[in-house]
Symmetry: C2
Subunit: 123 residues, 2 copies
């Protein structure tokens, strides 16, 4: 598909906000989790992602839902039960995010070596 509509380098373009949701600290981790696990409840996501507050998780999920990345399904049972999963669009985005995650995981020794070498030079 051709595109000359969005420009992520333009601070005022709405695509910038989507890029920021997709690549935000918590956005990234939510996507990887949902890609791996398929469907998760709020409390499960909260437990799986170290350091995220309830408020930040809720805000990030809401932003991702609005962008069409995350699907939120409310089951009308007692007590209420809410599921989160990736949409088709979200699954494709999550695959790109996951590639970055795999890179860090697979090449961690290179990152660590670079950091040590940088710190040595700056001593």
């Amino acid at each position: 598909m051709e595109s000359a509509v969005v420009d992520v380098f333009d601070a005022k373009c709405p695509s910038r906000a989507v890029m920021e949701h997709l690549s935000s600290r918590w956005g990234v981790l939510i996507q990887i989790m949902l890609l791996r696990e398929g469907t998760m409840r709020f409390s499960e996501l909260r437990r799986a992602i170290g350091g995220v507050s309830e408020k930040m998780l809720a805000q990030t999920l809401q932003a991702l839902e609005r962008d069409g990345i995350v699907r939120r399904v409310v089951h009308p049972v007692i007590p209420p039960h809410v599921d989160y999963s990736l949409t088709d669009l979200g699954g494709d985005a999550a695959k790109a995010v996951n590639a970055l995650f795999e890179l860090i995981d697979n090449r961690w020794d290179e990152f660590e070596k670079a950091q040590m070498s940088y710190d040595e030079r700056k001593k």
Copy 2:
């Protein structure tokens, strides 16, 4: 390569910081720019990336340099001339980041439709 060393879901794991540099608002845009242009000077990057302050650009470049993503070359001329480019590791990271950027660009209509539908439901 096998890896059981890093866990980006653990808030205290150093891989979390690298993930955050790579996927930060400015980190993402710097990588895409350097992937496209090869080598750029500070002032060129500043001009190309809308809304970034001199301080934020400098801090982000420094974090990316320490992680081994960005290579900083100082040319000993007058006036001093500093070039930024991607390392091999950085090029691979930038390709993953760029895939996310292409997705937003190519499927912008889907993002926009999701946002409009969400806003309509919340009215």
